[in-house]
Symmetry: D2
Subunit: 163 residues, 4 copies
């Protein structure tokens, strides 16, 4: 749960995400566009109970607690099951009803297999998962499942304190 600390500061760079469609943003976002900010990548599925009951409200709280210029919250809809029930049109209704206040990208389906492309590339274990990127776009936390507000806040605070 703690930020990976390596001697040589060899944190892996966040690879590009592959997005089929964006919501809540006037134009497509690239990882590089967020350089200079701390980034919380919140990966979820709209029909995943732990996402809806815990991780999405937490992502909303993070969006509200920190200035846009300091922390970017980006949702990534990584559908790997019940694909028919979680198409972009349904996600649009979900985002509207739950009043999500941050950009959400739809992880691009793969040519074969249920896992979407960014999810595979990042080797995510399921939803919800959180990735935290430092201001240089390096992955400093990758966590599957719940994380407490206190710990998440401390990780964000640490990263905000770094140039």
């Amino acid at each position: 749960m703690t930020i990976t600390q390596s001697a040589g500061e060899d944190f892996p760079p966040m690879p590009a995400w592959e997005i089929a469609q964006w919501f809540n943003t006037p134009h497509a976002l690239q990882v590089e566009d967020l350089r200079g900010k701390v980034v919380m990548l919140h990966t979820f599925q709209m029909l995943c109970p732990a996402c809806v009951l815990h991780a999405i409200p937490q992502a909303q709280r993070v969006r509200k607690a920190f200035p846009l210029a300091e922390v970017a919250v980006v949702g990534l809809h990584t559908v790997f099951e019940h694909h028919e029930a979680m198409r972009p049109q349904a996600l649009d209704a979900f985002i509207h009803e739950f009043r999500l206040a941050f950009p959400v990208g739809v992880d691009k389906p793969a040519d074969t297999g249920p896992l979407p492309r960014t999810m595979s590339r990042l080797n995510l274990q399921g939803t919800p998962s959180i990735l935290l990127l430092d201001r240089q776009g390096r992955i400093r936390l990758q966590h599957f499942g719940k994380i407490d507000d206190l710990e998440l806040g401390a990780l964000l605070g640490r990263l905000m304190a770094q140039a």
Copy 2:
């Protein structure tokens, strides 16, 4: 919020519901099948935040707290908006993921207009709404929005105490 009390005990009978499809029950349920039990009819939409965050967990708690022979919990999926996103196939995934432990019927769409048939017939104001039926199948509470566990429990207890 209190149970309607009329001098002559003139409580309206629950009208028949019109169901397009059932989940979590081996055969279609009729209102009359539940005669003799207290019934909690929990009307919801799978993409309604107050339903997902409050009313559905409460319906699950009611299911768990009281014996099947005493209290029947029946879900009614009354889709009146975002129809494309809440089709029965999506509801099926939702029921599975949220592990709903009670029968759920899909309120039958009307020939015209967004409101489904049972919702119109009952003149429901939105979701979530709760209806409580006494052992004679009469409507003793119809409530739109949240209701506390303590008050809901007291209403159920009162109805359970009546022959």
Copy 3:
């Protein structure tokens, strides 16, 4: 957790309580004064965490949810440990700060031993404990520890429904 049901309706009558001092009531209360109402006897200690964090807020909710004419909530301060720290003067400050909105009686210390008199008489196992009395003053529930709002509400509703 369910109300005791005996064939011959042989529910034990609530014995008299022995109170050293009352708070939040202009005159001493006797069990008989409450005949005709459903009574929730909430036994607690002001320095018991499960009382402060769970049972006292619940007792306050019960007081607020039901009319005074139907449900009486009575607190009983059953000090059986840390006697020096929970004297009536400290309880007075506690009642004031936590804004308890129901009468509270101090269970009378015994001549010998740490257990106060009413606690011994009722054979209570600890705090918090709840007793529910029906309108005839008979004990219908005696429960040590937490109880959910839904179950407590149902028990109160059942008892309110009885003449």
Copy 4:
């Protein structure tokens, strides 16, 4: 709620506290003993509802979430009302029952007036109040009332990141 930022980094140093009695520590603590650690000074009264229901559980979570070598949590019992009910003997029972897992000092009563000495010196507005000190022992946050875990975590994280 945000950490004070001054151009010249002129953060006030934490003054010495005056403690009548310590609990949960084998020897008296001085502010200087904690130099090098981030310090959360949690000021409370054992009969203050917002302390008991919110701030004390939060202080316990902070103690649990971060290593002792990084974050020191110190309780300060600043009794300014109901003095008779919150004497050290009562506090001892409280600490035991609520299983407080950090050192707690009793703020020394003043010669005159209800406010204890450290409380006056720090000009605290009431309880609960939180002070955060950086590794140099400078006051970086002084906050009266509730603060969310996410914000508190971020402040602690920022301070932990600083040498």
